[in-house]
């Protein structure tokens, strides 16, 4: 079981699912008949990346609570790598979303609820990054960062539900009852990409977390050996 959840195994499973998902998306799922046309194929990676970004911030939120409860630095490291990867995925969502927006709506950007709240998420977690870099003392940095990660997470459900509660925006609901209105073969490809991207995130979190723990160990050893 431990081997199945190791970073290389997760990377391999994610890679297979993402390749299968995208092959199905291009050769099995039909091209969207609406105004989006072929550009709708961007959805198969764009939405799963967005979901993965929000999951990463969720992991950071849980790890931040765990840190405040236990004061164990390993939770701070998990929260930190999750935010870093969540931010990376968020930037990818913004870029691919802008490309898709230009293709589907004819504009790179629109100040509509989903896009605006997602941009806010990016700014909030970028601020988390800045906060960590300005506090030197390790314990204090971890505590401030944990509190910030918990507060910043408030925007995550707002972003997810923005298209449901404020339906006047341009952004469609993708995940919802009945697959968000997706046709059967599209939903299959989409679900495979979704699973693949979630596994990719898990692999990246696992790998980065292990690297951070080894870095800490090396740093401790250097100190104990006198430099």
């Amino acid at each position: 079981m431990k081997k199945l959840l190791s970073a290389p195994a997760l990377f391999a499973a994610a890679g297979i699912l993402l390749v299968v998902g995208v092959v199905l998306a291009f050769w099995y799922s039909p091209t969207d008949s609406s105004s989006m046309g072929f550009s709708q194929k961007i959805l198969y990676y764009h939405a799963p990346i967005a979901e993965a970004a929000l999951v990463a911030f969720g992991v950071a939120f849980v790890a931040a609570i765990a840190y405040l409860r236990t004061q164990d630095m390993k939770w701070d490291r998990l929260s930190f790598v999750s935010v870093r990867l969540g931010l990376l995925f968020s930037i990818l969502v913004m870029i691919t979303g802008m490309i898709w927006g230009k293709a589907a709506w004819g504009t790179w950007w629109a100040w509509e609820p989903r896009l605006t709240t997602f941009l806010l998420v990016c700014f909030l977690y970028a601020a988390y990054w800045v906060l960590r870099s300005v506090v030197d003392e390790e314990q204090r940095r971890a505590t401030y960062a944990a509190v910030f990660a918990i507060i910043a997470f408030i925007d995550v459900p707002i972003t997810f539900f923005a298209t449901r509660f404020l339906p006047e925006g341009l952004h469609p609901v993708v995940i919802g009852p009945g697959g968000g209105g997706m046709e059967g073969s599209m939903a299959v490809s989409f679900a495979i990409c979704m699973l693949g991207m979630t596994l990719l995130l898990a692999a990246m979190i696992r790998r980065d977390y292990e690297i951070e723990l080894i870095k800490d160990r090396v740093s401790d050893l250097k100190t104990s050996l006198g430099g």
């Binding site: 990818l92 490309i99 690297i211």
Partner: protein
Amino acid sequence: MTLEEGVKYVAAAYGVIMAVIVIYYFMSARRVATLQRDVQLLEDEARRLQGGAE
């Protein structure tokens, strides 16, 4: 929108995703290489200290 236009946008989006994943991979490999170098230095230092103690 024509199919050719759509293909350009789709290729750009998937290209960005692939580029970011490749950059992540190389940055991660670089971090591991730095750690391996540090571990090697620590092992050398530990061996040196052990030699001095004997």
